[in-house]
């Protein structure tokens, strides 16, 4: 039986993954950060992050659902809607 993730767990997993992938300190990242600014990434790198997240959570997340999303907390809520 799969354990159900809480919102906080989902956010933590996203932050862990983003920190590891873009090689930034995990301590620097908080749920309400603008990930474009905090990670210093552009739209192509954001798509790279999306691919990582889809693979990690085993979901399909249409990229148009991310339009206007720039903080980890909202990203987590989009992901949770697909879990």
């Amino acid at each position: 039986m799969c354990a159900i993730r809480t919102s906080d767990q989902t956010i933590d997993e996203i932050l862990d993954l983003a920190a590891a992938h873009f090689k930034v300190s995990r301590e620097r990242l908080t749920p309400d950060d603008d990930f474009f600014k905090t990670l210093g990434i552009d739209s192509l790198q954001a798509l790279d992050l999306l691919t990582k997240l889809e693979n990690h959570f085993h979901i399909e997340l249409p990229d148009y659902e991310l339009q206007g999303v720039s903080d980890f907390r909202t990203l987590a809520s989009r992901i949770r809607s697909r879990l």
């Binding site: 474009f36 739209s43 798509l47 999306l50 691919t51 889809e54 693979n55 990229d63 148009y64």
Partner: protein, 267 residues
């Protein structure tokens, strides 16, 4: 010519395998320089076909395989011309790139696209011209052209119709959203899904296996399972050129080129 090193790409023949490497900053956008070198490659292909059994196309750029047409060049060039002149220029460009894509599609060599990262627009169309697509887990496929008021123009629609089911064709074309490699494998387009950074290695191993087979038989088998939709390819050029003269396209291109937003690639 067994090898070539240009400004946008290079190729070499080794042990019966031709490797075409794309390498133009930032992400192998296809503009006039890349097209010219692709034409050189297509011109050399006939001679290479006599010595090789397989062709691998891959990217040396970390961002991905290819981000598609060089939209900045397209916009800047079209701004210097009257609309009818720009449309004629676009048609000439499309006819040239179609000849390259058709040469790869029809080649008796077994062709493998080894892809990672961004495979957008014209890059996706180049991969679709190949017989096999081997993708690593970072790969992301997309036709974002509708965002610009356009359609794919390098032969992508007929080849997508040939190789994918209706649901995927319509979703890719009409929503402009991107799909990861897992989804594209499930859809039947990606033949092998491999770990990050492994697509080229696996493509080389695949090409080595192909060497064991009779080349003539392999070429005939390819021809049998992969017909080229020449008539629809011509229709795609006509439709693209018809749409290109609309003001919405100029506005879409301008918005893309002048965008300072962090998300210009997100449809």
């Amino acid at each position: 010519m067994d090898q070539f090193k240009g400004r946008a790409l290079s190729w070499e023949l080794n042990d019966g395998i031709v490797e075409l490497a794309l390498n133009r900053e930032p992400c192998n956008e296809i503009g006039s320089m890349t097209l010219s070198e692709l034409e050189s490659f297509a011109g050399a292909l006939k001679a290479l076909e006599g010595e090789a059994h397989a062709l691998i196309i891959y990217s040396q750029r970390s961002c991905g395989f290819c981000a598609g047409a060089d939209l900045r060049e397209l916009y800047c060039q079209s701004q210097k011309m009257a609309r009818t002149e720009a449309a004629s220029g676009v048609r000439r460009f499309l006819e040239r790139i179609h000849r390259v894509m058709n040469a790869i599609d029809a080649s008796p060599l077994i062709t493998v696209a080894a892809v990672h990262g961004v495979i957008f627009g014209g890059g996706f169309e180049l991969a679709l011209a190949c017989d096999l697509i081997i993708a690593d887990k970072t790969a992301r496929f997309c036709f974002p052209e509708l965002r610009l008021g356009l359609i794919p123009g390098f032969g992508g629609i007929p080849r997508m119709k040939r190789d994918l089911g209706n649901a995927m064709v319509r979703d890719l074309l009409l929503t402009g959203r991107s799909f990861n490699a897992t989804k594209m494998q499930q859809a039947g387009l990606v033949s092998q899904l491999v770990s990050e950074g492994e697509a080229l290695h696996v493509a080389r191993a695949t090409a080595a296996q192909l060497k064991k087979f009779d080349r003539y038989t392999a070429a005939r088998a390819k021809e049998f399972v992969k017909p080229i939709p020449y008539e629809e390819l011509k229709q795609e050029i006509d439709l693209f050129c018809d749409l290109f003269t609309r003001p919405a396209v100029e506005a879409g291109l301008r918005k893309f080129v002048e965008s300072t937003e962090a998300q210009p690639y997100l449809p």
